[in-house]
Every structure is written in structure tokens, then in C-alpha cells.
């Protein structure tokens, strides 16, 4: 808010102190500081607070243990002369020196905003994000009286003396009420698609609280399914039967994926687990029963917010992975290299040494530096010996329980792993595995390698090195823990490069992959059964296949698309999801929207409910094309629709006769949802 300058007498003492404080020019500092903050006193670590959360004029301002409450959330509003007014979040009243007193020790209170110089404070940085705050009328600074360490310690003004009880950390509060645009973008990154209700909820509780809810939400996950004989009984389960469909194809888990995506509360967990599936890959192409895939998917769900070390360990002894990359029955006489190579190349450190910001290190000759060689692979191959399936029925291997040890097949020789670590001879299967997983996870490459992949899966295909570095440093150490995926995901989603109402950078964003595109469109419009009376059955994989993504059946351990895929027509701009984007899949994507907007996925032998979307909300606005298009702008494009696009879609909607509101709604939804502007999550 711009205030007219009001002349006040300033004590001589105050002038001297203002003149001698160093730091950046106050005018710029104040403008940069606009926003909401906790003010944390350096000496005590406690927060500036209004006593008792009172909303009365004159209520004392104190220090109190930081608790995230609104009375500890101060909005800094710059004035036009370099000062700020601090407004309490619970009351809307200003930080004020009582009576505009000039006395040392005058109490600081809250008071209705009145433009007085005793409500204006000059923030001056003293380093590390700390500031002194000088009252404009008196030149004295915000101070915790007697350097109290207690909750309730009184806050006063006092002459500047450089003490820690006069220095305040301005800790930005992420939240307040975030904008609908930023929340929409956040939900595109953190869920399978924003819905109007979810946007409202996140605006109400803020990002941090929503993340906590999501971390705690129980996993929808996948049911444990009955195992069937590896060699199919052609009588009990003949070709082309539902028995085959339900027990020898991915059909049940593919449907479950979409049901979870459309209706599950644990959206973030699902989103992260699917990202992990694309990193630590097992494919139904080889692991052919859904009962074999399900425990692997459960492992990803269970570990989505756990430690990366735990994830790698659990995945290594998962039987589906044991089958897929040949750990199961890996013998010491002929150790198989497959898992050893892929766990390094794809699941942890990659093939070249990375800087903490994810850029490759280069040697003297300007060449990338390999992270491991064949010898390393051989040694890890020897580590991963001595595992077999847990006991099961004859002809029906146990894909449900983790693999178990077969010590006689374990290579107990000494093994040299990464970074000079040597496993001594004589260790058993489990000890070798545990040490090896630790060795891998402790490699400095893991932080930037995995962080960058997760950023690409959630937010943007071309993160700046600084973004990668910020997230990698959280991977490396989040409150003492290494590889804490909860902290990493939080860091990814709350980073300034993820947040904001709109992004201008040319290379920002990522193409929605087929499963995401399907889920996004369906969630935006309240997908239900074909006749709208119940829920979708999730039979949507055929649509995803047409767009190039056969769920849980990626062509290889190199996943559905390579992270290195270059956006066509560019030199070096990454677009992993473009690996599935061809002339034919481009039209299939558009035709999918045509099906949902103008028709439905009908009930069929494989689809007991079918799927349709609900355009009634849009129909209600169809009388005014501009209103309809603006609603879609908010819902699908977080308000970032260009004026040209807006005018074009309005015109096309207007060309539909006014009496057919449904067709108008369909037209508008079709145009926005098929647009390149929407297909790229930005």
C-alpha cells in the first residue's frame, strides 16, 4: 500500500543510528521484502506474536515459541519511503509503538492501521536473512526486553546496540492464502489433476498443510492378487478368456491405476510412486502376471515418502525385480550382471560424474567422467548373488513375499565397490546387500541424479542447475537424514522455480504423458461411469496405449521414454515425454479428448461401467461464451490463457447456436483440452 509521506519529528539519536547502519539501500530492501513472514528473534529463536492472539487495539506484542499461527504471521507492506508496515495475520492490525512514544523501552503493541510513523519500520539487513527493524518515529529498534528467553517476553523499542535480541530473521511463510493460479499449477505437479474442490481446499489450508495431509494419507495402492501357475493351464484358463485377462495380463492393475488416480485421496503418493516406477523400472512385458507386478507397485507406494535407501533395498529383494533383472537365482559360479549394471546406471548414480547441480563434471580434456567400469559391475554382480524366491507351490513361484536368502549360492569373496569401499570376504548375503546399498546411496551422484529425475517427472523437463542443486542438497541432508523422499518432494514442490502464478521461461514445463493427460482431463470434469450414475471402472489403458504408453508395460528397463529425449526441432532442450509423441500419437491424444468431450467410453465386455465426464458446470455458463472460456482458463490453464487464444475459443463457442448449451460446452472443452498450450504442463 502506498502511503503519503507524513512528517514526524525524528529524535536526534534515531538519526545518528539510521545514518550509521550499513547494508543495501533501504528502499529496495523494503520492496523486495513484500510478503508474509515469521519474525524470529536471534537470541531466543522465538517468534514475534500478539499476546493471546488478541484482536484488540493495544494488545501487547510478545515473543512466543513459533507455532505457525496467524498471529505470528506478519505481512510486510512497503511504504513509499523505504519503510514497511507489519500487519498481524490474525487481526489485520499494525505493529505499533504505543502512543508513538519516544522513550527507551516503550511497549510495542498492535493497533489499527493509521498511517502513523510509529507504525512504520525500516528493515536493515545484518546478514544471513536477519534484520533490525527501526521505528520510523523514534529511530529505536524492535527489541525483546531484557533479552528474555521466555514465552511471553515483552517486545519493546530500544536504542540499537547490536544485540541478538534486536535481530530478527524474516522467515518467509509459504502460504497465507495462495492464489488460485499457483494452487492450480501446484496440483498439476502434485496430483493427477486439479479439481475445483481441491483447488479450494489447498487455498484454504495452504501448501505446507496440504503436503502434510498428503504425506499422511493412506495409500490407495494395489491389492495382493492370487498367484497363478507360470505355465498356464489351457483348460482352466483358455486363450482369450477373462481368466487370462484377469490373471495373465496387466488389466487389473491398469484399471486400478486409473481408479486410484481419479478417486484416491493419496494423490501425491500416487504421483511420486509412478515417477519412481519410471526410474526403478519393472515391466509387465517380462513380468507377466498382475499378481507378480502388484507387490512391486506396493513397494513403490510404501516407500514413496520413505528413504531412498529403503526403497532401493526393498526393490532389490522384490521378486518381480528379481525376475526382471535376474537377481533371483543369481549364482556365484556365473553371476549375472544385469541388476548390477542397471542399479548403478538407472536407479542411483547414472553413467557420468555429476556436480551437485546435476551438470556433468568434465575432465582435463573436456570429457565426462564415468562413474563406474566393468570391474565395478562385476563386483556388484557378485554382491547380488544368493537370492531365491520364497517358498511357494510347485509351478507357482512366490512373487508376493520378498526373496529369501540362499547362502550356498552367495559369493562371499571380498568386493571392491564405489569410491574405494571394500566389502571384506566372509560376509553373508544380507550383510553384503545392506553394505552395497549403503555404498550406492552414499555416492555423491545420487542426490543430483535422482533429484533431477523427480523434478522432470513432476515439474519441468529443463530445471535450472540451481533448482537441481537446491533439491539435491535436501536429498543429501534433510535434518540429518540422507535421501528423505518426503523432504525432497516437499523441496521440489515448494521451490520458487515450481511455484508462481505463471512461468515465462521459454523452456519451462513438461509435456503431460498419456496417463497424466487422461487423468487430468477426467479429473477436471468429474469423471464417472458412462451413464453418469456411478464411478468410472478405470478401463482407460487402451486409450493410453494408443497414445504410446501401455501402463506397467514399458518396452524396457529404460522406461517409457528416455530422460535424455530432445524436444524435436531443438538442440538440447529436454522433453522426455516427447519420446512418446509422434504424428500418430499426437492425433490420438486429440481424438481421446474428442471421445470424452463429445461422447464417452462405452460399457463393454472389459468395461462394466464405462467412463464419461460431467460438463454440466460448463453448460451452465454457456449462455455467455466469454464466461465459459474464462472458467476453462481458470480450471485448465491457471489463468494463463493468452488473449489470442481466448478470443479464438470464444468465437468458436459463439458459432454454436445459443440454444445448445451442451454443444457449446463441448466445443470449448475440446478446444482448450486439445490445445498445445494445455498439453504442456507449465
Amino acid at each position: 500500500m502506498i502511503r503519503p509521506f507524513t512528517a514526524r519529528s525524528i529524535g536526534l539519536l534515531g538519526l545518528i543510528f539510521v545514518a550509521t547502519v550499513s547494508g543495501s539501500p533501504p528502499l529496495d530492501a523494503a520492496a523486495d521484502l513484500a510478503g508474509s513472514y515469521e519474525l524470529v528473534a536471534l537470541h531466543s529463536g522465538k517468534c514475534l506474536d500478539v499476546s493471546g492472539q488478541s484482536t484488540d487495539d493495544g494488545a501487547p506484542v510478545v515473543q512466543w515459541t513459533c507455532n505457525g499461527g496467524l498471529s505470528q504471521r506478519w505481512t510486510l507492506q512497503p511504504t513509499d519511503d523505504g519503510n514497511v508496515v507489519l500487519i498481524a495475520g490474525h487481526s489485520g492490525k499494525a505493529l505499533d509503538v504505543r502512543g508513538a512514544s519516544l522513550k527507551d523501552g516503550a511497549h510495542v503493541i498492535q493497533y489499527t492501521i493509521n498511517g502513523g510513523a510509529n507504525q512504520e519500520w525500516l528493515p536493515q539487513p545484518v546478514g544471513d536473512g536477519y534484520y533490525t527493524l527501526t521505528a520510523h518515529h523514534s529511530g529505536e529498534v524492535l527489541d525483546v526486553s531484557a533479552e528474555s528467553m521466555d514465552d511471553g517476553g515483552i517486545v519493546i523499542q530500544w536504542p540499537l546496540h547490536g544485540g541478538a535480541n534486536q535481530e530478527w530473521l524474516l522467515r518467509a511463510v509459504v502460504g497465507g492464502r495462495p492464489s488460485s493460479a499457483d494452487v492450480t499449477r501446484f496440483l498439476e505437479q502434485a496430483t493427477w489433476g486439479p479439481t475445483p474442490a481441491l483447488v479450494q481446499h489447498v487455498q484454504d489450508v495452504g501448501f505446507a498443510r496440504f503436503l502434510d495431509e498428503q504425506f499422511d494419507a493412506p495409500a490407495s495402492s494395489y491389492p495382493t492378487l492370487p498367484l497363478f501357475p507360470t505355465t498356464r493351464d489351457q483348460t482352466a484358463c483358455p486363450d482369450n478368456s477373462t481368466c487370462v485377462r484377469d490373471n495373465y495380463t496387466m488389466y487389473p492393475v491398469q484399471n486400478r491405476f486409473f481408479v486410484n488416480a481419479l478417486y484416491g485421496d493419496d494423490q501425491l503418493r500416487q504421483r511420486v510412486a509412478f515417477a519412481l516406477h519410471q526410474i526403478v523400472v519393472v515391466s509387465g512385458v517380462d513380468v507377466t502376471q498382475p499378481s507378480w507386478m502388484s507387490p512391486y507397485l506396493q513397494t513403490l507406494d510404501r516407500n514413496a515418502f520413505a528413504s531412498y535407501r529403503q526403497l532401493l533395498y526393498d526393490i532389490t529383494i522384490n521378486p518381480a525385480m528379481g525376475n526382471y533383472l535376474d537377481v533371483v537365482n543369481n549364482t556365484k559360479t556365473r553371476p549375472n550382471e544385469n541388476y548390477a549394471r542397471e542399479i548403478l546406471q538407472l536407479f542411483s548414480i547414472g553413467t557420468v560424474r555429476l556436480n551437485p547441480d546435476g551438470t556433468p563434471q568434465l575432465d582435463q580434456a573436456g570429457q565426462p567422467i564415468p562413474t563406474y567400469d566393468q570391474t565395478t559391475v562385476n563386483n556388484f554382480a557378485r554382491v547380488f548373488t544368493g537370492w531365491r524366491f520364497a517358498s511357494g507351490a510347485p509351478g507357482i513361484p512366490n512373487y508376493i513375499d520378498p526373496m529369501v536368502v540362499n547362502e550356498t549360492q552367495h559369493d562371499t569373496g571380498s568386493k571392491t565397490l564405489l569410491n574405494g569401499v571394500v566389502l571384506p570376504a566372509g560376509q553373508n548375503t544380507v550383510k553384503d546387500l545392506s553394505d552395497a546399498i549403503d555404498n550406492i546411496v552414499n555416492d555423491p551422484n545420487v542426490g543430483p541424479f535422482i533429484s533431477k529425475l523427480l523434478i522432470q517427472h513432476l515439474v519441468t523437463s529443463n530445471p535450472t542447475p540451481d533448482y537441481v542443486a537446491r533439491v539435491a542438497s535436501v536429498f543429501n541432508d534433510a535434518g540429518g537424514a540422507r535421501g528423505d523422499l518426503r523432504a525432497v518432494v516437499r523441496a521440489i514442490l515448494l521451490d520458487p522455480e515450481a511455484r508462481g502464478d505463471v512461468k515465462d521461461d521459454a523452456n519451462y514445463g513438461r509435456l503431460r504423458h498419456p496417463a497424466q493427460y487422461i487423468a487430468n482431463v477426467l479429473r477436471a470434469f468429474g469423471a464417472g461411469s458412462a451413464d453418469g450414475t456411478s464411478t468410472s471402472d478405470g478401463y482407460l489403458n487402451p486409450q493410453s496405449v494408443l497414445m504410446g504408453m501401455d501402463l506397467f508395460r514399458p518396452p524396457s528397463v529404460f522406461s517409457y521414454f528416455s530422460p535424455g529425449t530432445v524436444v524435436p526441432g531443438t538442440t538440447g532442450v529436454r522433453g522426455p515425454e516427447f519420446g512418446l509423441f509422434s504424428t500418430s500419437t499426437a492425433l490420438r491424444r486429440v481424438n481421446f479428448v474428442n471421445t470424452m468431450a463429445f461422447s464417452r467410453i462405452a460399457v463393454s465386455a472389459n468395461s462394466p461401467n464405462g467412463t464419461s465426464i460431467d460438463l454440466s458446470g460448463m453448460e451452465a455458463l454457456a449462455g455467455d461464451p466469454a464466461q465459459l472460456v474464462d472458467a476453462l482458463n481458470v480450471l485448465l490453464m491457471h489463468g494463463a490463457m493468452s488473449n489470442d487464444m481466448r478470443q479464438s475459443v470464444i468465437a468458436a463457442v459463439g458459432a454454436v447456436p445459443a440454444g445448445t448449451a451442451h454443444k457449446r460446452a463441448q466445443t470449448a472443452v475440446y478446444l482448450v483440452a486439445t490445445s498445445p498450450q494445455y498439453q504442456v504442463e507449465r
Binding site: S461, A506, V590, D644, Q679
Partner: protein, 467 residues
Amino acid sequence: MNVTRREFLLQSASACVGYALGAAAFAAGVQRFSLINALAQGLDYKALVCVFMAGGNDGNNLIVPTSTSEYGQYAAVRTAAGLAIAQDALLPIVPASLGAPFGFHPSLAELHGLWTDGVASIVCNVGPLVVPLTRQQYLAGAPRPYQLFSHSDQVAQWQTAISDRVGQTGWGGRTADRFDPHASGFPMITALSGGIFTRGQSSTPLSIAPAPTALNQVLVLNGFGTTADEVARRQSMDFLRTIDTGATLVAATGKTTDQALDIGGILGSNVTLATAFPNTTLGNQLLQVAKVIKFNSVSPELGLRRQIFFCQLGGFDTHQNQVNTQSNLLAQVSKAVKAFHDATVELGVERQVTTFTLSDFGRTLQPAGAGGGVGSDHAWGNHHIVVGGAVRGGDFYGVPGPGGTIFPVLQLSGPSDTDNRGRWIPTVSVEQYAATLATWYGVAPPDLPIVFPNIGQFATSDLGFML
């Protein structure tokens, strides 16, 4: 509305440097090519057709030596387990330069006919190599391709022709890159199946569905009739792809969609062929290839002089049940390739179209398991088929190895073996095989190292099987 106003201003600034999409580019390309086409259509046309046998075809049963001692070596390893093909079941051939008798797998009757007609040959013991390699060198630790015997890695190496690191582009794509592959609105490469083979630096493939989808149905936009509101909707849809192109990924999405719609528009008619094709996976892909070739030849406004096609048939990973499985698959390959060759004859381009196979790897001479379910495991060097009127037919091609000939010594732990299971160390590298094809296609010798970065490691870049 502040946001949209800002977007509007950004677009106005970038509109001047925006790019022409779709129809405009196509028209320009067409003008450029129609002249060339008038002069050269039918005369300077060449097409490469790749058939990828996914899973790793067992080359040891594709061609089998039938001279007594060599067949004896083969039988010694394979007969007991039930994996050997009986000598009198093999379809006899005598490669001209070897002067020794061999036999095709009994399922390859049609290929045998093409051999006899002089339009089919075999390239022996091809595989990824970083440097030429003997068994001694291999065992001593000489450089070799990364992750041998791994499906995904070997598929990548065969399709990229890069074995010392992970290649990002396919050699089909890099070949196309040498020819300005998008000068016309119709891409040089048409993919009937996915694969990195088709991806170049600038070249991107047109991917279409196989037969029985009609050619004018492969890239169809649904949901637009001729009512006034549908026309208006289509106009808006097309307009939206021309704006907001300051965002790189948005622009690329619009551009590929444009290309799809343009080509869908170009593929306005379904051409027909007199030649009958088998209704199989590969048959339907090759039928579509033949149709695209015909479509190009009858569409003066298209007039592509060079085309590359990629097809794929899966199921070759015969760890078990190889006898029946491979028999059926090779029969499918044989019949489909024969039909395709006949179609090129029908179109008058049989000397201008060359079909060749690739695969993940060969398979172990030593069987895996025994009896009815016998199979073989992942190996390395493999034998491949080349077919076409420009092929020097009726012969085997390769590089002499330890046995003194281009054919591996069929001995476990023998001089051709990687280990003790009969995994042949290739004597021909993938890039030598591919460069021979690319040279015929028209890649100039100075450009070969660009397409095949490692070709300099090998003595020859032309194995001589093309006329």
C-alpha cells in the same frame, strides 16, 4: 486479466520471429521438390526397409552348413537336445564365393526362391563391436560393447550403430539427416513400429498404423463434419497451434500435431496393390510400406526420392520352445518379405528398394534345456538377410574370421566363441553392415563417419553386397 495482457504482449513481440507451420512449409517444400521429381521420379528413387526381429533370432538355425564336417560340428552340439534341424530338411543353397553347401531353415521356402532368383543374400556373423576382436583379445579384456547379452542395450546398439556409449539417435535417423529429411512436408522416414532406429538429429519419423488401416485412415482427426460450428471449431483449433509459440515445448507439440494433420491431409486416398500380402503382423506392416511407396510414386506433389521404413516383429527370444516358435516366425518373415518383394516388382521399383534384417543378437549354439521345450540363450554375432533387386544375390558376405572364412567356427570354446556356449564374436560390425546399406542409399563417403562415428575402427565400410 493482467496475466493475459502480459501474455498478449509477449506474443506480439515473438510473432515476428514465429515460424510458418504446416501448410505453408509443405507448399514451399512441394515447389522445391516438384522440379526434381519431374526429372527424376522413378530413376533416382531408393528406399531402405528395416525388419527388426525383436528378441534375438537364432541365426544358427537360419543358415546351417551342410558339408559333412561342418554339419557334424553343428549336430554335435544341437542334436542331442533336439535343437538341430535335420540335414535333409534344410533348403539347399551354395553361396557363390564360399563354394560350400549350406541350407536355409525349412520355413524359408520363399526366401529360398528369392535366393535362387538372385535377389537375396546373407551377411554373416554381424554384431556390435567397438574394435575388431578375436577370442584371445576378448578374454584379455579388449574393449567391447557395453552390456552384451542384455536385450535393451543390444537393441539400442543395433539400432544406433553405437556401441561404446549410449547412442541418442538411430542410424536410420542419422542417414536421413544427411538428406534434408523434412524439406517436403512428408518425412523421409516412416515407422510402422517404435524404435530409436528412426530418430535422427533433425529427422523425425512419420509413425503410422499398419494395414488393414487404410492409408487415408492412418492419421485421421475425428469429430469434424461440415456444419458451421464444426468448421469454426476446426479453424480455432488450427489457429491455436500458431500462437503462444514462445514456449518451446508448446511450439513443438503444435508442430508435430500440424505435421500429423498435414500428412493426414496428404494421405487422401488409399492406394491398392495387386500383390497379395499375408495377413500377419509383419505382412501388414510391409503391406503398408508398399502402399506408402506406391502413394509416393503416384503423387507428383510428394515425389520423395529417398525413403526409410522401419518394421518390427517380436517373439524371437526363444529361451524355450524354439523349434516351433522360430519355425512360425521365420515362415512369417519369409512370406511377408516375399510378398513385399513382389510388390516392389509390381511397382517397378524392385531394384530401388532394399530390405534388410536386424535383431538384438544371435543365440547360443549350445541349447538351453532339452526335449520339446528346448531353446537357446542370448548370444552375440548373428546372420542377417538382405533382399532386393540391387542386392548381389545368392551369396554370403562378411569378413573372414579365425576359421579363415566369413562363417563362424561352430565349436563351443572354439576360436569364434566368446565363452563356452557358442556365442560368436562378430567378424562384421553393425556399422560395417549398415554403412554398406547407407552407401547404396546415397550417403557420401566423407559423411559416413558422421552417420557411423566408429566406422574408422574397421577395415572396410562396404561389404560389397550391393550392386
